[in-house]
C-alpha cells in the first residue's frame, strides 16, 4: 500500500471513531436532557404498566450499553429506529430529506466556486483596479452578512416586490426533474430515447426558479470567503519564484495562473473550506427555515421541538457522518495537491 493509501486508511479509521463519538455524544445527550422518551409517547393517563410496556417496546428497559450496542447494530443494518411521534421509520425519512439539503448545499457550493475563484483571481491579478475593489467590498460584506437576513431581504425584494422568484418551497426535486429525461433502452424500441424533453425543461425551470434564492442565500458567505482566500493566496503565490520560472520557460499566462499559482492557492483554500463545511450545513439548516425548503434542517428543527429522539439522532448521525466523509475527501484532496504532507 502506498503512503497515500495508508493515509486514507488512517483517516477513514479516524472518521469511524469520530462517527462513533457522534453517536455516543447523542446517547449521552439523550439521557441528560430532561424527560423520558416514554412521556412523549404514552398518553398522559397511561398506567405504570402501560408505560413499562412502551418502554419495553422501545428497548428502554435495557441497560444503556445494550441500547447503545443495539443502536449501532441497527445502524449497520441501515436502520435508525422509528420516530416517536409519527411511528414511521427514521432512516427512509432522513434519506428522503437528504436530496433536498444536498441540492441546496451543492447548488450553493457550485455557485460559490464558479463565482469566487475567478473573482479572487481577477481581484489578485488586477490589483488596485475597479474589479479588485468591487470584489474586495463584496467579499467583506459577504462574510459579514447573516445569511438568513440576506434570505429574508432577497424574498422581500425579488419575490414580494418583483415577483421574479417564488417565495419558498421545492415542488420539484432535481432528481425528479432529471427523471423526466428517462431513457427507454429496450431492444425492441431502440435505445436511449430521451422522453418528455418538454416536461423536463419545465421541471428544471421550476426547480431552478425555486433553488435560486436559497442557493444565493446559502452561497454568498462561501463565495465571499473563497474570494477573499483566493485573492490573498493568489497574491502570495504570484510573487513566488516558481511563477517567474514558469513564465521564463515559456508557459502562457493562463497556464501559469491556473495550473501553477491557482493550484497552490487552492491548497489552503481547500482546508479552510473543509473546516467551514459545518458552517455550510448549519447555513443550510437556517436557509431551509427561511425558504421552507424541505430538507434535513427543517426535519431537525421539528424533531428537536418535538423531542423526537430517534429522528434527532438519525438526522444528526447522517449529518455527522456526511461531514466526516467529506472531510476525509477534503484531506485526501489536500494531500494529493500538496505532496509534502505525506512525508
Amino acid at each position: 500500500m502506498g503512503s497515500f493509501g495508508r493515509f486514507l486508511l488512517k483517516r477513514s479509521l479516524q472518521g469511524v471513531v469520530v462517527i462513533l463519538g457522534v453517536i455516543s455524544v447523542l446517547f449521552v445527550l439523550r439521557y441528560v436532557t430532561p424527560g423520558s422518551p416514554v412521556d412523549f409517547i404514552a398518553p398522559l393517563d397511561a398506567s405504570d404498566a402501560t408505560r413499562r410496556r412502551i418502554a419495553e417496546s422501545l428497548g428502554l428497559n435495557q441497560p444503556l450499553y445494550v441500547q447503545y450496542g443495539d443502536y449501532i447494530v441497527s445502524l449497520l443494518q441501515g436502520e435508525m429506529g422509528y420516530s416517536y411521534r409519527s411511528r414511521t421509520a427514521v432512516a427512509p425519512r432522513v434519506f428522503a430529506k437528504l436530496p433536498a439539503t444536498l441540492e441546496l448545499a451543492v447548488a450553493a457550493t457550485v455557485v460559490a466556486v464558479i463565482l469566487s475563484i475567478p473573482l479572487g483571481v481577477i481581484s489578485a491579478t488586477r490589483r488596485h483596479t475597479g474589479p479588485d475593489y468591487a470584489a474586495t467590498v463584496f467579499s467583506f460584506l459577504g462574510i459579514s452578512t447573516p445569511n438568513f437576513w440576506l434570505g429574508v431581504m432577497l424574498v422581500i425584494l425579488f419575490a414580494v416586490q418583483f415577483g421574479a422568484f417564488p417565495t419558498s418551497g421545492r415542488p420539484v426535486g432535481l432528481l425528479d426533474a432529471l427523471g423526466h429525461l428517462v431513457v427507454i433502452a429496450g431492444p425492441e424500441r431502440g435505445w436511449a430515447l430521451p422522453l418528455n424533453v418538454g416536461s423536463f425543461v419545465a421541471a428544471m425551470q421550476n426547480w431552478l426558479l425555486h433553488v435560486t434564492l436559497p442557493a444565493i442565500t446559502l452561497g454568498t458567505y462561501f463565495t465571499a470567503l473563497i474570494t477573499r482566500l483566493t485573492r490573498s493566496g493568489m497574491l502570495d503565490e504570484l510573487g513566488r519564484g516558481y511563477v517567474q520560472a514558469a513564465r521564463a520557460k515559456g508557459l502562457p499566462t493562463t497556464l501559469v495562473r491556473y495550473r501553477h499559482a491557482l493550484r497552490n492557492t487552492l491548497i489552503p483554500v481547500i482546508t479552510v473550506v473543509g473546516l467551514q463545511l459545518g458552517t455550510l450545513i448549519g447555513g443550510a439548516v437556517i436557509t431551509e427555515a427561511v425558504f421552507d425548503w424541505p430538507g434535513l434542517g427543517s426535519l431537525i428543527i421539528d424533531a428537536i421541538n418535538n423531542r423526537d429522539w430517534p429522528l434527532i439522532q438519525g438526522s444528526l448521525v447522517v449529518i455527522g457522518a456526511g461531514f466526516v466523509v467529506v472531510n476525509v475527501v477534503v484531506d485526501a484532496l489536500y494531500v494529493r495537491l500538496n505532496p509534502r504532507v505525506l512525508e
Binding site: L44, R87, P166
Partner: protein, 540 residues
C-alpha cells in the same frame, strides 16, 4: 380544538361524570336533545351566590358558572380567535368554525380540477388514531370519516351513521350507512366501527396506546349490535356529551387492514372511507390525494387535492398571491387587506371555537387576590387590542364560554378598559408594586406573542404594577401545566383553548374546576355547579 393543548382535558370530565352518574336520561350532542332531565337538582350545598335564584336546567348551571367565573376573574379574558383563511379565486369554499378544512367542500372553478392547500405544518403520521393536532387532522380527515360529523356552523350531522339513539344511561347505539366501502374496496362493517372505537379507548384492542383515548372520554368500549348494521357504544356513566364527541372524533378504520400492517405502514398509508384516497405521501413535504370514485355520495368536486405546509404565515400569503396554492390557513392580520385587495384571492374568516386567555393561578401571589385579578381585566384595552393586534379578526370575551356554545351567558359583557379602576383595585388588593411575568408561547396561536406583549404593556402602564413577558417553548410550558402540580406552573401565562364540542362544560371542567387537567383555579361553588350540570341530561 382541545387537541392543541393536549391530552388530559377530558380525563377529569370522565371522572366527574362518573361520580355524578346518578340519573338516567341524558341526550348526546347539544343539538340533539331527545330527553329532558329526569331528576331534580340537588339542593344541599352552601348558600346561593349573591341573591340569585338557584339555577335549574343544565344550561342555567353553565350560565351561572360563567357568571361566577366572570366575577371572580381567574383569567384575563382576552379574545375569541378567528380562523382566517385565504383562498384563491380559482376555488369556491367557505371556512368552518372548527378549524378543519374539508376538501370535499372545495370546488375548483374554471378549468382547474386540482386543489392545493397550504397549512402551517405537515402531519405527524397518518394513523387516524394516533395524533392530536389540527394539522394532522386536516390531512387525515380527507380520507377518513367518523360516525357523525359537524356542518360549517358546528351542528351535528350524520356521516357514516344514519341514526343514533341512547339505549340506556351508559349505552348508545349507532345505525350504520350501507353501501360504504373503504378505498381498498372492502365494505364497511359494524366490526370495523366497533374495532375503531375500541382501538382508541382500549390499548389492548388495537395494540395502540391511542393519544385520543381522552377525546372519547367516558367511552369504555363498543360492540357490534345484533342486526345488520348497528354498533353499541358503552360509556362509564351517563356521558352527556357522547354524541358531541363522536361528531368531532373517532375516525373509522378498516379492521383487517390495521391488523395486517405495522405502525410504520399505517402511519404512511391510508385506508378510509372518505371522498379522497391517498395518492402520494411525502412525509413532511406534501400529501397528494385523488378523488375516490366509489364514494357513497357524489364524488368530490376536485379530482386532486394536495396539502403542503409553510411555517411562516407571510410565506403562505405569498404563495397564495403568486397562485402557488389555493387555500392558506392562519392569515396574519397585517396581510388580510393585501389578500382582500388582490384580484386573485380573497379572505374567508370565521370565528373559531378557540378562546385565548391569560390564566392567573388562584393561590399564587399576587393573583390570590380577586381584586388584583379583576384589576388585570380592567387594565387592558381589549377593544383596541382586538382591532389593532388582531386587525379586528377576533371577538372580545368576558367569560370562558364562547357565544353560540351551550351555556353561554348573554348577560355578561367584557370588562371595560378602566385603568383608574384597575389601579384602585390593585391598591385595594394590597399588592401595589407587584412585579409579574407573563409566560407566553410564540407562534402557537394567532398573534400570541403580540397579544402577550400588548397585555403586558397595558399592565406595565399601571402605576402600581410592573409586568414583563417571558417567551416560552410551547411544549415545555404545557408540560409544566399538565404535570398536575399548580406549584410548578408559571403563575401567569397565556394559552388558547379550543372546544370542538360547543359545550361550556368542555372548557370550564378542564380549565376551571379543581381537578381540571389544565386548571389554574379552585372554587367549590364552580365545582359543584359543574358536577350538577354534568349529571343532567339535555339543555335548551
Amino acid at each position: 380544538m382541545s387537541r392543541d393543548v393536549d391530552r388530559r382535558e377530558f380525563l377529569t370530565l370522565a371522572g366527574t361524570a362518573a361520580g355524578a352518574a346518578t340519573l338516567a336520561g341524558c341526550s348526546g350532542g347539544n343539538e340533539t336533545a331527545t330527553e329532558t332531565s329526569g331528576g331534580s337538582t340537588p339542593m344541599d350545598t352552601g348558600t346561593p351566590e349573591e341573591e340569585l335564584p338557584e339555577p335549574e336546567t343544565r344550561e342555567e348551571h353553565l350560565q351561572r358558572t360563567n357568571r361566577l367565573v366572570h366575577d371572580d376573574a381567574p383569567w384575563i379574558f382576552l379574545n375569541r380567535q378567528y380562523s382566517v383563511y385565504g383562498k384563491s379565486a380559482d376555488v369556491e369554499w367557505e371556512a368552518r368554525r372548527d378549524e378543519r378544512i374539508d376538501g370535499y367542500a372545495i370546488e375548483p372553478t374554471g378549468s382547474k380540477s386540482s386543489v392545493m392547500i397550504t397549512q402551517s405544518k405537515m402531519d405527524t403520521g397518518l394513523d387516524p388514531h394516533d395524533h392530536r393536532e389540527t394539522t394532522t387532522d386536516n390531512i387525515v380527515t380527507q380520507a377518513y370519516e367518523g360516525l357523525l360529523e359537524r356542518d360549517r356552523e358546528g351542528k351535528v350531522v350524520n356521516q357514516l351513521a344514519t341514526g343514533y339513539e341512547r339505549l340506556e344511561a351508559g349505552q348508545v347505539q349507532f345505525e350504520l350507512r350501507s353501501g360504504v366501502s373503504f378505498h381498498s374496496g372492502d365494505s364497511l362493517t359494524k366490526e370495523d366501527v366497533a374495532f375503531s372505537i375500541n382501538r382508541i379507548v382500549d390499548p389492548e384492542a388495537g395494540d395502540l396506546e391511542s393519544s385520543q383515548s381522552d377525546q372519547l372520554a367516558g367511552v369504555t368500549g363498543a360492540e357490534p349490535a345484533d342486526g345488520d348494521s348497528a354498533v353499541i357504544v358503552n360509556s362509564d356513566g351517563i356521558n352527556p356529551v357522547v354524541f358531541a364527541l363522536f361528531a368531532t372524533y373517532c375516525d373509522i378504520v378498516n379492521k383487517s387492514w390495521i391488523e395486517s400492517n405495522d405502525a410504520a405502514y399505517i402511519n404512511s398509508n391510508m385506508e378510509g372511507t372518505g371522498p379522497f384516497m391517498l395518492d402520494t405521501y411525502e412525509q413532511d413535504v406534501r400529501v397528494v390525494f385523488e378523488s375516490y370514485d366509489d364514494y357513497y355520495m357524489d364524488a368530490a368536486p376536485a379530482d386532486q387535492l394536495t396539502i403542503q405546509s409553510a411555517g411562516e404565515p407571510s410565506t403562505r400569503v405569498n404563495q397564495l398571491l403568486n397562485d402557488e396554492t389555493d387555500i392558506i390557513v392562519n392569515v396574519p392580520p397585517q396581510n388580510i387587506s393585501q389578500i382582500q385587495s388582490a384580484d386573485n384571492a380573497s379572505i374567508s374568516a370565521v370565528p373559531s371555537t378557540r378562546i385565548i386567555y391569560n390564566a392567573m393561578i388562584y393561590n399564587r401571589e399576587p393573583f390570590d387576590s380577586v381584586e388584583f385579578r379583576q384589576a388585570m381585566n380592567y387594565a387592558i384595552d381589549l377593544e383596541s387590542m382586538v382591532s389593532n393586534v388582531l386587525g379586528s379578526f377576533g371577538d372580545q370575551t368576558g367569560q370562558p364560554t364562547l357565544e353560540g356554545f351551550t351555556g353561554y351567558n348573554p348577560d355578561l359583557d367584557p370588562y371595560p378598559y378602566d385603568p383608574d379602576e384597575a389601579e384602585r383595585l390593585v391598591e385595594a388588593s394590597g399588592y401595589a408594586g407587584a412585579e409579574i411575568e407573563l409566560h407566553t408561547p410564540s407562534g402557537r396561536y394567532l398573534k400570541d406573542l403580540e397579544i402577550s406583549q400588548a397585555v403586558v404593556s397595558y399592565l406595565d402602564e399601571l402605576e402600581n404594577v410592573s409586568a414583563s413577558v417571558k417567551q416560552r417553548d410551547f411544549g415545555k410550558l404545557v408540560d409544566e401545566l399538565l404535570d398536575g402540580e399548580l406549584e410548578t406552573s408559571p403563575a401567569f401565562y397565556l394559552i388558547g383553548w379550543g372546544n370542538a364540542a360547543f359545550d361550556a362544560s368542555q372548557t370550564i371542567i378542564p380549565l376551571l374546576t379543581s381537578d381540571g387537567a389544565l386548571t389554574s383555579y379552585r372554587n367549590d361553588r364552580v365545582d359543584e355547579l359543574m358536577d350538577q350540570a354534568q349529571s343532567m341530561g339535555g339543555e335548551s
